[in-house]
């Protein structure tokens, strides 16, 4: 990094941000980097929308009899919170923002294989989002994000159809993204970039894309059948005509359980990049981490029945699903052990992205281990449908996926924006988020274990202390999320100019300018070394 001062700071250098300024150059762009920014703005919007629903819920739950809204409204709040956060924030967050930006850069290509499909996917996402927002304004939905029949078919008089159409449409945007990534990773790698030289982020994106491509169509057909059932009462999920409501749950979870891995695998990819960079070491057991991503993608398709232990599912099916759910914990644990081993004797520096990554490891471990409670039949019967579940999946989705997303944003922000953010503020925000998150969700483990059911607008008075703790934590968490929003926007205009490789990281994305030119690379790079060759680089620098 001693050469940094010698680099000329050419402000007017052509890059993808200043190539053109008109609104058309953004809305009709085929540049993967600009589409990534379109996605970034949109998922941030939906994060704020979904977060507001959560804020209202936590305010409501300060008092045992409910402090704010009618029970019907409460049902709509948790439904829309789930729908917006899962389908419109978590699933597109890392793949569509960081993946879109980084996959072509990391494989050393000029763009994704199908730039038009990429832009189309954003428009599809927006149309799906508008349907969902419309439903929220037109009266909301109260079925829970899982749309279980018959809540969503026979007994619902809310906007189920509009939300179903919204989710159905948005599914195609994630199919297109996944398809684009798989083709790009297969066919557009730079010369010398063999499969086992790829950064782990690419492996994670590849595994995620497989799930998107195989799982999402099943959700689409399920939602399609649900809409038909809701509109025409054709009876496919209605026992009145011999239909089976459980069939809906099977079809729904066949997608929606793997969807959890759509949310967490990309975050794991981000964390691998960050851990390697700030320990200045190659990831321990690189190949095993590659395969563990693929193993999670494959096994993830075989465990959906663990959502249905207390339904009418056969006990033998339950036993098999329980065993398979334990199996999927193995590749997840491998990753945690390998990150920890990478840290061992690394020269660690605690930059802001690293704080998020370390936070991820801790919170994901908590979320993963509590998942084992839910994978075993006997404990699940007690814990199913309680706040224990709520806490468990928030540790994975918020503690895991959102921490990964924020870590990734902080890691690649200099590349994306060409500017640096104030590191002190970033570290402070990471700390606040970590504390706020644990204060919000750890009490919910206890609440659930004591038997407080989820999705109720009221609760017994003895649970008030823990609920108030949780609501207080949510306030801290909310502040933690606002701080990065402010300083990142500030940095776009006032932040110090970032050099091409401010962290001294390996990987092709750091070999081009910050921000990259529209064509990514002046010349297509040739890869001659394995990923994370940190020790080699350090040695060469000496």
């Amino acid at each position: 990094m001693s050469t940094a001062t010698l680099e000329p700071r050419v402000h007017a250098q052509r890059n993808y941000l200043n190539a053109d300024y008109g609104w058309k150059s953004w809305l009709f762009t085929l540049d993967h980097k600009r589409i990534a920014l379109l996605y970034m703005v949109s998922v941030t919007f939906f994060f704020i929308v979904g977060g507001s629903f959560a804020v209202l819920m936590r305010i409501h739950l300060i008092e045992p009899q409910g402090a704010l809204v009618q029970p019907e409204t409460y049902n709509k709040l948790f439904t829309l919170h789930g729908v917006v956060m899962i389908f419109f924030f978590l699933i597109p967050s890392i793949p569509a923002v960081l993946g879109n930006f980084l996959v072509p850069l990391m494989v050393g290509a000029r763009d994704l294989a199908f730039p038009r499909l990429n832009l189309l996917s954003w428009y599809i996402y927006i149309v799906g989002g508008l349907f969902t927002l419309y439903s929220a304004i037109a009266g909301g939905v109260d079925t829970g994000w899982t749309f279980y029949t018959p809540y969503s078919s026979t007994y619902s008089n809310t906007q189920v159809t509009a939300v179903a159409i919204g989710v159905f449409i948005t599914g195609f945007s994630s199919i297109l993204t996944g398809l684009n990534f798989i083709v790009t990773i297969h066919k557009m790698r730079a010369p010398g970039l063999t499969w086992f030289r790829m950064p782990l982020f690419l492996w994670a994106m590849y595994a995620t894309s497989i799930i998107m491509v195989l799982g999402t169509p099943v959700l689409a057909i399920t939602i399609f059948l649900l809409a038909l059932e809701h509109l025409f009462h054709v009876g496919i999920f209605s026992p009145a005509l011999g239909g089976d409501p459980l069939l809906f749950q099977h079809l729904f979870w066949f997608y929606s359980h793997p969807a959890v891995y759509i949310m967490i695998l990309p975050a794991m990819g981000v964390v691998s990049e960050i851990i390697a960079c700030f320990s200045r070491k190659r990831i321990f057991g690189y190949k095993i981490v590659c395969f563990s991503s693929v193993a999670i993608a494959v096994l993830g398709f075989l465990v959906w029945g663990h959502h249905m232990f207390v339904t009418g599912q056969s006990v033998y099916a339950g036993l098999i699903f329980s065993m398979l759910s334990f199996l999927v914990a193995i590749p997840s644990a491998i990753k945690v052990f390998n990150w920890t081993s990478t840290l061992y004797k690394g020269s660690i520096s605690y930059e802001a992205p690293m704080l998020y990554a370390l936070g991820f490891i801790g919170l994901f471990t908590m979320g993963g281990l509590t998942g084992l409670f839910l994978a075993s039949l006997a404990t699940d019967v007690h814990l199913n449908g309680t706040y224990f579940i709520v806490a468990h999946f928030h540790y994975i989705m918020v503690g895991g996926a959102v921490m990964g997303y924020l870590g990734g944003i902080h890691f690649w922000w200099p590349k994306i924006s060409g500017r640096k953010y104030p590191n002190g503020w970033a570290a402070l925000a990471a700390g606040i988020i970590f504390i706020g998150f644990n204060l919000t969700f750890f009490p919910q483990f206890i609440l659930g274990y004591l038997g407080m059911p989820r999705r109720y607008a009221f609760y017994p008075a003895e649970f008030q202390v823990l609920n108030v703790m949780s609501s207080a934590g949510a306030t801290v968490l909310g502040v933690g999320y606002l701080i990065p929003l402010v300083y990142l926007m500030w940095s776009m205009r006032y932040g110090p100019i970032a050099e091409a490789n401010p962290w001294g990281a390996t990987g092709l994305e750091w070999k081009t300018a910050s921000p990259p030119p529209t064509e990514n690379f002046a010349e297509i790079p040739v890869v001659t070394e394995e990923a994370y060759a940190y020790s080699a680089e350090e040695a060469a620098g000496d």
Binding site: L241, G242, F254
Partner: protein, 228 residues
């Protein structure tokens, strides 16, 4: 900018690719992946069908006997014929025979149109016999006699699957017809050469896939149980 010049020389090549071969490989892999998603899409429906057919076999057999097996068989032949003309279109594109390409594409469209016409007639028959679930469900006379043994409610489930599966298939056919029209228009402008015909190949694969779906739908819906 020698790169850009080299790109401009090769018609039909997008800037993100290094050469035409890479683009062709990417296009082919892309359409195969898309077909995988289609298999999963129909798969959810086929799996549900299989469950209910297993649970309510008598009703599904009765429902199947309402369908006109001759129309179904004729449509199968029409669709297989369209797959042949589609394969010939791809071959014509490969050999650079523009006239034959356009002719075979139009022939494929005509056969697709015949299929959809027959399908529309069959749908109409269902309204005549009042076996449209939820919208027009009042089977009577001989129809009722055939459906009664399996239970009318369960027969309604059969017809729901009949409409959902053939309807989704027909929707894919209509999209395919649109794609064929697009190919004809491009072929008239001589967009395709023996080196660049990926769109014809890609649409061809899609068309064959839609055919194969019908090859499964025909026995599943029309040929349940012995009839003759």
């Amino acid at each position: 900018m020698t790169d850009a010049e080299a790109h401009a020389e090769q018609a039909g090549m997008a800037h993100q690719f290094e050469n035409l071969e890479q683009q062709q490989e990417a296009d082919t892999l892309g359409i195969w992946l898309f077909l995988v998603t289609e298999i999963m899409f129909f798969g959810g429906l086929f799996a549900s069908y299989a469950i209910y057919r297993w649970l309510y076999f008598a009703a599904f057999e009765g429902g199947s006997h309402i369908l006109d097996i001759r129309l179904g068989a004729a449509n199968t032949i029409v669709l297989l014929g369209s797959s042949l003309t589609m394969a010939l279109s791809v071959r014509s594109a490969q050999t650079g025979n523009r006239r034959a390409l356009i002719l075979f594409l139009i022939a494929t469209m005509i056969l697709g149109g015949i299929f959809l016409g027959v399908k529309a007639y069959e749908y109409n028959e269902k309204f005549v016999e009042h076996v449209v679930p939820s919208l027009d469900w009042a089977p009577e006379g001989q129809t009722l006699a055939r459906l009664a043994p399996g239970g009318l409610d369960h027969a309604q489930l059969y017809f729901f699957f009949y409409f959902a599966m053939t309807g989704l298939h027909a929707m894919h056919m209509i999209i395919g017809m649109g794609l064929l029209l697009w190919l004809v228009l491009r072929a008239r402008k001589s967009s395709f050469t023996p080196h660049y015909f990926a769109p014809v190949e890609v649409v061809g694969l899609y068309w064959h896939f839609v055919d194969i779906v019908w090859i499964f739908l025909f026995p599943l819906l029309y040929l349940i149980g012995g009839r003759y």
